[in-house]
Every structure is written in C-alpha cells, then in structure tokens.
Symmetry: C3
Subunit: 401 residues, 3 copies
C-alpha cells in the first residue's frame, strides 16, 4: 500500500506559505512545533516526535544520511540556501494541488502561485481567512451599518476571479488554475467554537460591528494595533457569508499554539452550527482536530457535509501517525477524510506532512489487507479518495480542467 | 482465545428490534451507520469501517464470498427475503439472552419474544424506556399533581409480570423466561447527562410535569406531535423511580445519531448522580460510551454499581474493535464490563456486533496470554465474565432457571 | 531498550508513603485501585489490569511463581511480614531519588527519609501539599487579615531547611540530601482546575480566608471536622505563593478516586493559569493526566515550563502502559516528561509503577529503533532524560551533591 500511496499525488487542502529567508537554529526550532521556542528548562525541540521524524526523513533530501545531528543538518541547509532547500522539499512532497490559507503572515512568505510552482503542482488555490477580511474592513472607513455589506462585497470581489464559487457550485464548474475555493474561520483562536446555529440578523451584526469598530478606533489610537474579530456573532456572520456563497468553510479545530484555548477548540462545540448549515450542503472542513479527532470523526459520519483531516498533528506526532489516522477513520466515512499538511514556514513540514500521511494511511490500509479486513482493490480506492479524490470533489477543483 | 469466545453464547444486554420488511439500497445504507443516509457529496456509507466489516463477514452467512460488492450483497439479500436473512444473522450471532429496549419504534420492528426465538436464545427480556413511559402518561388525561404517581404505577405494572424487580432483588430471585429486567434513560438525547444527584422532591416533579403537560397540550393542538420529556428534573425523577424499584438503569452515553449533542453525552457529566445512587447498590449501565469510553472505564472502577459496554461503536469501527475494547478495559474492572450490540433494524448488526466483540475481546485477552501478562485460565475466566457472567449477575437473569 | 531502562535508577518525582501495618485481603484490595473496595456486585479488584499485572510481576519478589492466586499471594505476604515485603519491593523499584507528597495521611505511613532508606535511594525530598498547609493555618488562631502572611511564613519555614528554593533557584544550587523541593495543589479534588491566571489580590485573599475561617469555626463547633480549602481564589493564591518562591508546583490532574470530579480535572482548564505563570519560568508539573494525557502533552509542548507524567495510570492500566506512554509522548517534548509512581500504601505499587514505566518507555523507544524512526543512541538519551534527567533538572535535585 505504501508504494501505491507514494505514487499518488496529493491534494493538500490546507497549508500556508513557506519562509524564503535563511534560518538559524533558534528560528528553525521556533517553527518546528507549536512551542514558541526552545528553552534551557525544557531542552531542544529537536527532542520530540517531529524532531526525530525530521532527522529520520529530511536529511536524505539534502544529501545527508538519515538521523543527522541537528547542527549538521542545519549547516547543510545553510550551505544549500533557503531557495534550494524549499524547492527540494516542496517537490519531494508530491503534491497535485494546494489550497493555501493566505491569512497568516507574521513575516513574508511565498504566495500560492509561487508555492504551487515550487511544488510542481497542477494548481494552487487560495483560501480566504474570514476574520482577516473582516479586520481589513474594520481598519478602514466604514460604519457599523455598512460593515456587513462591505464584508460581503469584498468576499464577492475575492471570489470573482474564479467566477464566484456559488455560481460554479450551481453550474457544476470549478476554477481551473487557481482562484479562491474556500474560506477559513479561526473562531477557535478567538471567541471559541461554541457558536449558535442560525445566521445572525442584520441588527445583531450591526451591533457587533459597532463594538468592533469602537475597539478598533481605541486600538489604533493607542498602540496602533489592528482590530481583532473576537465575537461569536461576527465569527458566525462570516461563516454564513461564506456558506451563502457556496464556499466551503475550513475551521481551525483543536491543536495549535499557546494562543489557542484548546478546550474551546473541541469540534463538538460546533454541533449547533453544523446542524444549521447541513441543509445547505456546503462543505465544512474540520482541520487538525487532534486530540479531538475521534469527536471529529463522529461529526463527519452524522453530518452529510462535514469533512475532516488530521493536518498539523500528522507530522507533529511523527512515527505515531498511523495510530492517529486509524483513530480518525474509526467513524469518519472514507469519503469524508482529506489530506492537509497545515505546513507553515519550514519547507520540511510540507514534505513531512505528506510523507507521514502516506505512511499513516498506508499502514492503516495495509494492515487491513493483511488481516483480510478488506481487499487490496478496496484499499486502493480508499487511498485515492483520501489522498485527492475527496478534496477534488468537495472543493470542485477539477471541473473544467 | 477466539475459539473459546466463539463457543460462548453471549448476553446482549442492550439491543432493539429488527425490521421485518424488505430493504432497498437507500434504506439499507440509512440503517448501516448513524448517518441519516448516503449523499453524493460524502459518498456511499459502505465506504466506512462498518461497511467494510459487513462486506468482510456477512456475505458468507448469505452464501456469498467475502468482500462481495454492495449491490451483489443486496441482490442476494433480496433474493433470500428479509425473514430468512433475519433468521440467519440472529442465529449466527450466538446469543444466550437478549435485553431488548422496546422504546424506539420509528417503524414496526420485532418484539422481544420473536427476536429471542429467531436468535435461538434461552430468554429475551425487556428494558423499559423511561422517557417513553412518561410521555405516554403525559399524552393522556393526567394532572401535574397526579403525574408522578401515575408514572410510578405504570412502572410497577410493567414490572409486575416478573414479580417486581425490587422484591426479586431483595429476595435474590429473577424473572425466568422474559419480563422487564431494567430501564433506560435517553437523557443524553434530550436535556443532556449533566444532572444533579438527589431524587427530586414531589414539588419539583409536579412543577416539571406541569411544564410538560402544557407543552404537550400545545404540541397536540398544533402539529399533533407527541410530548417530549426534555427536562433535567424529569429525567432524574424517572431514573430514581427505577432505582427505587431496584431496576438497573441503562444510560445512552456518547455515540449516537445527529440528534444527540455528543458533548452533553460525556459520562463524566453523570458523576453527581452516580455518587448519589451508589449507596443503593442498584446497577447503572453506561451504554456505548465511545469516544468517552476511557472516562466510562474510570467510572466503572470507582463506583461499585457502575457497568460499561462499548455497544454500537464495536461494530461501527469494524476491525478497530480490539483497540476500543482494550481501551475500555484499561481501568474498568473485568467484573464491570458487559456485551451489547445495540443493534437496531438490520439483522446484520446483531451478527457484526457479536462477532466484532468476540474478535476484539479475543485479541485483547489473547495478546495478554502471548505476552505472559496473564494465564490462559485467567483469560478464559474473564471471557466468561464479560461475555455473559457480568450481565447475568447484574440483571439477576438466571436465578430461578 | 528494556535492559537499558532496567539499569537506570529512576527519579520518582511524585509518590506517597507506604503503610507499615499488616493488611488483610479487604485492606489490600481497597488500596489496589482507586475503587473504595471490592463488592459482590462488581467482583474482586484483582480482576483488573492492575490486579493481573500485580499477579504477573510481584510474586517473584516474594519467592512465588508468576500469576499466583490472590489468596496464595496474600498468605505469603503475611508470612514475610509487612516490613520485609515493603523493603523488598522498594529496593526492587530501583529508585535514585524520591519526591514524597507528605500531605495525604489517612493512616500512619512512612516518612520520606525512611522511605528513601528502604528504597536505597540517594535522596528523598519532600513535596508540601499547599491546601494542607493552608488548612493547618485555618485550624489555628489566625484572623482573615493575617491568613495570607501566615501561609507565606510557614511556606518559608518549611523550605528554610534547604536554604529556600527561590534563592537556590536564583543561585543555581539545590538542597542536597532531602528538604522541600516543590509543592502540590489538589485543586482538582476541590474547586476544580478551572482557575483564573493572575495572582489574587490581598483583598481577595482576605475575603476568601474569612469564608474559610467562618466555615472552619462552624465545622469544628459541629462535627469537629477540620476546615477544607475549596475555593478558586485560595487554590490560586497558594499556587502563586509557591511560584513566587521559585518552588515547582505539582497539580493533581485527571485520574483519582471517586472523590474527584474527573470532568473538572482536565488539564486544559489550567490554560489561563499556565499562561500567567509561564513568564516566571517556574516548573509546573501535571500529574497522572489520564485520560486527558494527550491534552497534557499539548500543554507540555506549548508552555515552556510545563512538565507531565503518567503516574498512577501507568500501573493501573497494567500491560497497556506502552500505549499510554506512547500517547503522552505524541506532543510532549522528550525533555518535558517525568516518571512518577504516585504509589500510596502498598509497596507493590512502587515496584509496579517503576516496572511498567520501564516496560512502557522501553517498548516505545524500542519500537522506534526497530522501525528505524530513531537511533539507539538517541533512544538511550531520551531514556536517560525521562527516567531521571528531566526530574533532576526541573527540581534542581543534583546541584551541590
């Protein structure tokens, strides 16, 4: 099964850009896990599942023997230069298409198109981060009364390049060669995932926008900080804006850095919203999910439009990835599971995410063949679905190509 | 160990009736998992752990080769007819006794006695669904003041056939050849499992009954819908009615369809109630439990009257059942774990539930023997307990036979 | 790997005293798990993972064959006498150092120094239970206004023997040969782990102390019971008292007896407090964690000062310990994981805790070597860290020796 999976090019339905600059050891460790950085108290972050996985798999891509020591690895990385390193790892990831969340840019990173070229992918699509779009509106001249319309107008504008996803969905066509194919909510990082179901009224949105604008004014007058959407009504409004346009909505769920309150990132908190959105048939993508991946698998089974992945966690837990993928697939139907790397910054993470996904899914499917639980033909069909087919169908990526 | 388990007839302490009518593919898929049905967006529900398990194990019972394609399988099923199919799978399940929850009947299903006969079981017992009993009372001419007594009277009447469980418990005898042996609460599907401990006062119950009756009146005047118990006080009152009669109480916990709010189905929410009921010594059965089965195992260890199973999940997660059972048995003492299929509708689910339970428990016990963690004799003793002994003891099934 | 681990002496960073008296079967079973005792309804607690593990591993220490029957085992135990039995098991545990929580003493147990001698450990340190210290203050003549200062004074007095941890931390020295090296909070057993972050103000502490003192007065006037700290403000105050002195703080998390409300013991509830304490760099130790150990592993990754263990659960789940340790190490960096037995009462539990930890970590590390996920040299380094190095570094145990 592993060979089969190695031959499949993947649809990475959720990733970020890669950093183009050169990185020293402190920079590198700070991007390796979700920890802010290495400390004398806690020891090197190379001493972790993802650190060991990186030392196992990445050195050979840079012409070093497996299990290279961190300093040797980083010296070789510096010798080759970031551009060459990024190119090698992205190419080695074996990606067919990427959906790039362009909303997180603490420092300059590659744009989707460049990323897609480096990866040798057929297409690189864009995912619009909803809160960032709303915050851009709030940072400009807008009244509370005009806020909702302006958000909708911009979302329409962002998706106009590919004809508008809603109309495509209706027409059964899809944007070839790029364009916006979905949105993302980071409610889990702000107000939390516990949301009501129904679309908020215009009056509710106006009131919430007023609060945001007043806060934005204060913030900009003071520290010059930009406004932050952190309000259940606004998160929910944004999700419904996407849903009404037929745009699949990705949710950050579970595992993230120390800014998240993991308890508020349990996907079960989304139950009311999922129930309300289900009749629209617009896909909802639950990202990462660890350590709530079994909860997510349940939601993928009982709601017809819910899809799940195990991105970010897959490479962070290293050689435990087969267990994670097996647990996710306990209840999630095989037509509802996607691949994502959720890679950010280090090109190694694209490669590791893809490699550990292939190994994890391969181990799951292969062990089933060995035990006689299913046939090789069925396993191959499932591999195709999870590696790429489900993503293509849910985002309507291939239509028109 | 697997052979040993295959030779043991099981006590299925929680199941429902089987559907007698012929089923087309859409019907069949809608009963296969907890998803409402198959959709073009999500793909066939045969592409799931339970779907693959069904195709692995069920075709041979219908004289087909393993891993038959869904359409071939369903064609053969139609050819044999529902009656023959039901008979074959129930007989193949190898059941010694069944405890049938008769409270969920969206369509006509077999009664406990018929079911027991099909299964070749020594006895089929009944489990009274508490909320349904209360809703029947509420749908009739009753005042809020008379509600509590009427509920108690009916519960006594339902259990009178086997002499009254409470007196039996006191006397150490049990109902041979059927009768009511326990009750079930579906609080998890309604107000949730977060309940206070103490028995509600008559005043509290009267007030809650008043709310229910007013709602029932409105509901019947409007849509003709029947009233629904959805009130922490009433759920708790009903549980205490059963406890006071010495009747074991089953709780739906965790995994269910999209009507449940899984977050409110965590068994830890029952802690206060379990603490209050513990001194009575009346068994409390936590059903399903997935994905909270480790939480349930903890409760089974620390509360002397709490029992647990992994029904419904065992067949839904297919060849992962050994992991589930191993996780459940991490903390749950071996004298506190029960078997149930929680099968409803499809006769295949009785068979799969029993088969995957036997394989899961067999793998758990067998691996321990291989590693030298325990002896074959101890493993056989545990197999006897979990397969049937614990259920017989907790429900006092065999006394008098 | 197992041989390597067997050769390593462990730092048990959290354990309690052992009972010196002779034990009958009922006594023994009541200390074996977290269940209060064995019941006819639930069966013997020897029929459990820990019971089977005890019968597998402990008889040989008492010159019996493996898998001895419980009664034979207990007869031999009585024959040898408690003193000899305690000495054998503690010596067999292979401990280098112990950190003993001296705050739980429902009956007379050995003091840290005696325990350390029995174990042949180089040093036995003390962990001060914060709530007990506060309750001792509350039971004496103190006003609400003087409460906070008196608590701080006593904490200083308790830690004065080893020069004061705070100054040591600053000076980079540590208490040789015993002394107080940390504190413990049992908030999880009382008000729960959901706490605010910031240090409470003196006014808030005074008000909370007033409530405690009034309750203490009533309690002592009535039943003679001693006062109990059960107030979020006081738990948090006590934690900050320790943090301000540079003393590592252990939190009971997750698994415990039926007095705990497991739902309120999820380590994620500590997020706000962990965020507030992080800048101080004072280590926070999350104890036990099961079944929330993956949540704990996440916290250990993203907060630089958070450490985790799987004590208590490791021996309770018996031959499943490799899975538990592998799950804990999914996200927790290898420099942030500690060993503890959390043994109390039965000397067997020190031995089993150590043995099953060694086997679990050995299986985890060994399987990685076999798969080529890491080298034997890296695995050995990780074994050293988790077995002892991390504990020595976090508690500064070795400095000055």
């Amino acid at each position: 099964m592993l060979e089969r999976l190695e031959s499949l090019r993947l649809v990475d339905h959720h990733c970020h850009g890669v950093v183009g600059r050169e990185l020293d050891r402190a920079d590198f460790e700070s991007m390796l896990t979700e920890a802010p950085d290495t400390t004398p108290l806690g020891g090197s972050l190379f001493d972790s599942q993802v650190g060991f996985a990186l030392r196992r798999w990445c050195p050979s891509v840079l012409d070093l023997p497996a299990h290279a020591e961190p300093d040797d690895y980083l010296a070789r990385r510096a010798e080759l230069g970031a551009a060459e390193v990024n190119q090698r790892f992205l190419a080695a990831a074996g990606l067919d298409a990427l959906c790039v969340d362009t909303g997180y840019t603490p420092e300059p990173i590659l744009e989707p198109e460049e990323l897609g070229k480096l990866a040798g992918a057929r297409a690189a699509y864009e995912i619009v981060r909803l809160e960032r779009l709303a915050e851009q509106v709030a940072a400009e001249e807008v009244t509370a009364a005009a806020f909702a319309d302006e958000v909708r107008r911009r979302l329409d504008a962002r998706t106009a390049g590919n004809g508008g996803a809603a109309s495509e969905r209706a027409a059964g066509r899809a944007g070839a060669g790029g364009g916006v194919v979905g949105c993302k909510s980071i409610a889990a990082y702000r107000a939390g995932l516990e949301m009501a179901g129904e679309r908020p009224t215009e009056v509710e949105v106006k009131a919430a926008a007023g609060r945001l604008l007043r806060e934005a004014e204060r913030a900009m007058a003071g520290s010059g900080a930009s406004p932050r959407v952190n309000d259940e009504v606004l998160h929910r409004f944004l999700v419904w804006c996407a849903v009404e346009r037929g745009l699949p909505v990705q949710f950050h769920v579970g595992y993230g850095d120390s800014d998240t309150d993991l308890r508020r990132g349990d996907p079960l908190l989304l139950t009311a919203l999922l129930r309300a959105v289900a009749p629209t048939g617009v896909p909802i993508m639950l990202l990462h999910n660890y350590p709530f991946h079994r909860n997510a698998g349940y939601l993928a089974q009982v709601f017809p439009n819910v899809f799940v992945d195990a991105g970010l966690a897959t490479h962070n837990i290293g050689h435990r990835s087969p267990t994670l993928i097996a647990e996710l697939l306990e209840l999630a139907p095989f037509g509802k599971v996607l691949f994502s790397s959720d890679a950010y910054g280090l090109a190694e993470l694209y490669y590791l995410g893809a490699l550990l996904f292939r190994r994890g899914l391969g181990a799951f499917l292969g062990s089933g063949i060995e035990e006689g639980a299913w046939t090789a033909a069925d396993a191959e069909r499932v591999a195709d679905l999870v590696a790429a087919g489900n993503g293509r169908r849910a985002y309507r990526l291939d239509q028109g190509q």
